[in-house]
């Protein structure tokens, strides 16, 4: 990479050698904060079930020393691919929401995606938050004026300084096809719970965390991993 220290990763190991390693790719930006606590509870449940669980910091996020304005989706995809390069045993990718936009370059035995979302919808929400905040501050902005400004310089969206490359990439990003994939939604036939990633105030849901861990473990078994 470019001379920066390796990113932190939160790892929860099982007592015995792991059946497989689950790499959790969280939702992007603010949605990551809203879901982190529940995802870590799911990681604990996975570890109790014999999996190693890994939650890597993306460059520019959390404890990373990389300025967010320097990164884009490509860099995040490469960083995730590098996380598991030295992992022993099979890797399962478990991504949530916008995490599904950056999970496909990992060398994995299986993918699991919860409520994957297109990048355009995420970007629209971030842009709208800026327009709404601007309106409160008596500044007239619009999605068009923000898109124009984002062509040439980083744009501050809900506290995130996003580079022109990040904004262009996000606006066009769709989850890429991977095999084998289980894509789950909330509700019947999927995960019982509420969309914590939408919540204005971060919450947690221990029951949902257990359901996430159980669903990933079942998918691992049906892929013949363990």
């Amino acid at each position: 990479m470019t001379g920066h220290a390796p990113e932190h990763r939160l790892g929860i190991a099982p007592v015995a050698p792991p059946r497989a390693t689950v790499v959790v790719v969280p939702p992007l930006f603010e949605e990551a904060n809203r879901t982190r606590r529940t995802l870590v509870l799911a990681m604990r449940a996975l570890a109790a079930g014999g999996f190693a669980a890994l939650l890597p910091d993306l460059p520019g996020q959390n404890e990373s020393l990389v300025p967010l304005a320097e990164v884009d989706l490509e860099r995040w995809q490469d960083a995730l691919a590098a996380v598991t390069r030295t992992t022993d045993g099979p890797v399962i990718v478990a991504s949530v929401r916008g995490g599904a936009l950056i999970d496909h370059r990992v060398n994995a035995a299986a993918w699991w995606r919860l409520a994957p979302v297109g990048g355009a919808a995420l970007l629209r929400t971030l842009m709208r938050a800026r327009v709404s905040a601007d309106r409160e501050a008596g500044i007239a902005s619009s999605l068009d004026s923000l898109h124009a400004a984002a062509q040439t310089a980083p744009l501050l969206l809900a506290g995130n300084a996003l580079s022109p490359a990040m904004i262009a990439g996000l606006g066009a990003a769709e989850a890429q096809p991977v095999e084998p994939l289980r894509s789950v939604a909330l509700g019947e036939g999927g995960i019982a719970g509420t969309p914590l990633w939408l919540r204005a105030e971060p919450g947690e849901d221990a029951v949902m965390a257990q359901a996430i861990a159980a669903d990933i473990a079942a998918w691992s078994r049906s892929c013949g991993i363990s």
């Binding site: 929400t125 842009m127 709208r128 709404s132």
Partner: protein, 92 residues
Amino acid sequence: MTDSAPETSGVDAALRALLADVLGLGADRAAALTDDSGLFGALPEFDSMAVATVLTEMEDRLDILIDDDEIDGEIFETYGNLLSFATRKVTG
């Protein structure tokens, strides 16, 4: 989901569920919202990020497109204002 667009009562139910999800209201507080219930400026959780999230989720769940120009502060003043905006968009 059905093939047809949600009817008016369906819009009301969808909107209450959406606000419960975004604001963490719980089903009871969401059900107790009246037309006069204040939203933006009245509920502390209802900040500019919540406004943005509500708009994008409305598009997704009600299968509508919301133009930037249609949005003004009044829409988010009360639940009644938001519901009549959503209903107008759905019924076209």
